[in-house]
């Protein structure tokens, strides 16, 4: 049981690193696999848990996302701020 919790934590941490498009694509793949392939009980549970985790990761990413704006000029990249006086 302790092991399992540690694994979950590890999986979760792994997902936290994943960019949205990869997490989303993996989630789609897992659902496809579950819907079309015959898997063992263990594999199924594992896929389900990974899918759940990816799902929450995707939703979190969407809800927490904040648009980043940068500026590229001849001098290089810098942060961009709207000039509110404009």
């Amino acid at each position: 049981m302790k092991n399992k919790l540690a694994n979950d934590q590890k999986n979760k941490n792994q997902h936290e690193q994943l960019p949205f498009e990869i997490a989303y694509a993996q989630l789609e793949q897992i659902i496809m696999t579950l819907e079309t392939e015959e898997k063992t009980l263990e594999e199924t549970i594992e896929l389900f848990e990974r899918g759940e985790s990816l799902l929450h990761h995707c939703i979190d990413l969407l809800n927490q996302a904040e648009l980043r704006i940068k500026q590229l000029t001849g001098d290089g990249i810098s942060d961009f701020e709207f000039n509110e006086n404009k």
Binding site: E21, T44, L55, A65, L72, G74, N83
Partner: protein, 407 residues
């Protein structure tokens, strides 16, 4: 000669003639869709809002009118003496008996020339195959970096940022600021495109500008820019002007969006749609897993049942049952046996009872014995004067023998 037929002359009314001419003009396709060039004179706009003027060249004049609601839609209005090009239809003003040009579009001379140049370049580049659909690239489904080439102060950039922020704020926008009109614009835009490709290589590049006249948008008809867009490594979405504005950049870009906002929409998936997809994925994830588990549970139950049928325990139970059954039958048999024995014993008891001497005493017989219990069953057993015991059913008493009366 007098037999010549009498011909009745047909007279037209003025109205009839003007109506006839009106219809004649209206049926002429050339007159209904015509461009005329000339110089503006006698320009007047009374309180009605309609615009009246005369278009002249060195030797001739044409009366022109533009109705108020059309005037309001013009981005360009002529001044006295200006050389203009107008589009419209020629018709008869019946009340005044005048023909005039009903104008729906006015532009300064030169715009038409620009448009001709636009068509020429478009034809050239199209012939080169730069507009071919097969060389156009797809925009990735989920972009991470969006390069935007536009003016940092324009409404177009704000529209793009607001749209991306609303639809898919998971991205990074890299603005490559440029001027978007004037002589400098084409080279600046080309530079921005090269810089983005070299330093960032974003998933997609948006080239955008708000609406304006054909001169305002002219930078986007630059041939060099067209070639730069074609050779851009990142796919390019153009969002230039309004829905009705077309530039060369629109034709060579991978996707032409009608406006800057639309360009941002094409570049990004929609937040709300994604959430709907994700909730659909959740349902499918849970349903397939549940179905799988139900199936396994059912299978397990089946196996458990079949296994238990083959279990030694089951055989033991079965044997146990046999033993129990046998035992029950033995018990039955034995009970039956005992019943028979009991009945027999009862019969013997009665027989024995009936043989009991006591039962004879009940019928009035007596048993006579000597005092030493020797049974007296014959006259030879006794002497006169013997004391004898007489047993009757309820007791005994003593008697003494007397001599026989017959002796």
């Amino acid at each position: 000669m007098n037999n010549l037929p009498f011909i009745l002359t047909q007279y037209w009314t003025v109205s009839e003639l003007n109506r006839y001419l009106h219809d004649l003009f209206e049926d002429d396709l050339t007159l209904q869709d015509i461009w005329v060039q000339g110089e503006v004179s006698n320009l007047s706009q009374p309180s009605s809002g309609h615009l009246y003027f005369t278009l002249k060249d060195s030797s001739s004049a044409l009366k022109c009118v533009m109705w108020r609601n059309t005037v309001m839609k013009q981005t360009f209005l002529p001044r006295e003496g200006q050389a203009i090009e107008i589009h419209g239809s020629v018709g008869i003003y019946e009340a005044g008996g005048q023909y005039q040009l009903y104008s729906d579009l006015i532009r300064a001379v030169g715009e038409g020339a620009l448009y001709q140049e636009f068509l020429r370049r478009k034809g050239l580049l199209e012939a080169e195959g730069l507009f071919n659909l097969e060389r156009k690239r797809r925009i990735p489904k989920f972009v991470k970096q969006i390069g935007v080439i536009t003016s940092p102060t324009g409404a177009a950039f704000r529209d793009i940022i607001n749209t991306i922020n609303r639809r898919f704020p998971l991205v990074e926008v890299i603005l490559a600021p440029t001027v978007v009109q004037g002589e400098e614009a084409p080279s600046q835009i080309i530079d921005a495109l090269l810089r983005l490709n070299q330093n960032i290589s974003p998933d997609v590049i948006i080239i955008a500008r708000g609406g304006g006249s054909i001169e305002d948008l002219w930078a986007f008809n630059d041939e060099g820019l067209a070639r730069a867009i074609v050779s851009s490594a990142s796919p390019v979405i153009s969002g230039i002007g309004h829905e009705t504005d077309f530039t060369i950049a629109d034709f060579v870009s991978d996707i032409r969006a009608p406006t800057p906002t639309a360009a941002a929409e094409i570049a990004t998936p929609n937040f709300a749609d994604l959430l709907i997809n994700l909730s659909d994925y959740r349902i499918r994830l849970e349903r397939t897993t549940q179905t799988f588990l139900d199936k396994k549970q059912w299978q397990f139950n089946q196996y458990q049942h079949r296994l238990s049928l083959r279990s030694p325990l089951h055989r033991i139970q079965s044997n146990q049952q046999k033993v129990d059954e046998t035992y029950r039958r033995i018990i039955l048999v034995m009970e039956h046996y005992f019943d028979i024995q009991r009945a027999r014993t009862n019969g013997l008891e009665q027989k024995i009872a009936s043989l009991n001497p006591q039962s004879i005493l009940k019928r009035g017989y007596a048993i006579i014995t000597h005092l030493d219990n020797r049974l007296v069953s014959s006259v030879h057993h006794v002497q006169v004067g013997d004391e004898l015991n007489v047993n009757v059913q309820d007791g005994e008493f003593s008697v003494r023998t007397l001599p026989s009366r017959s002796n």
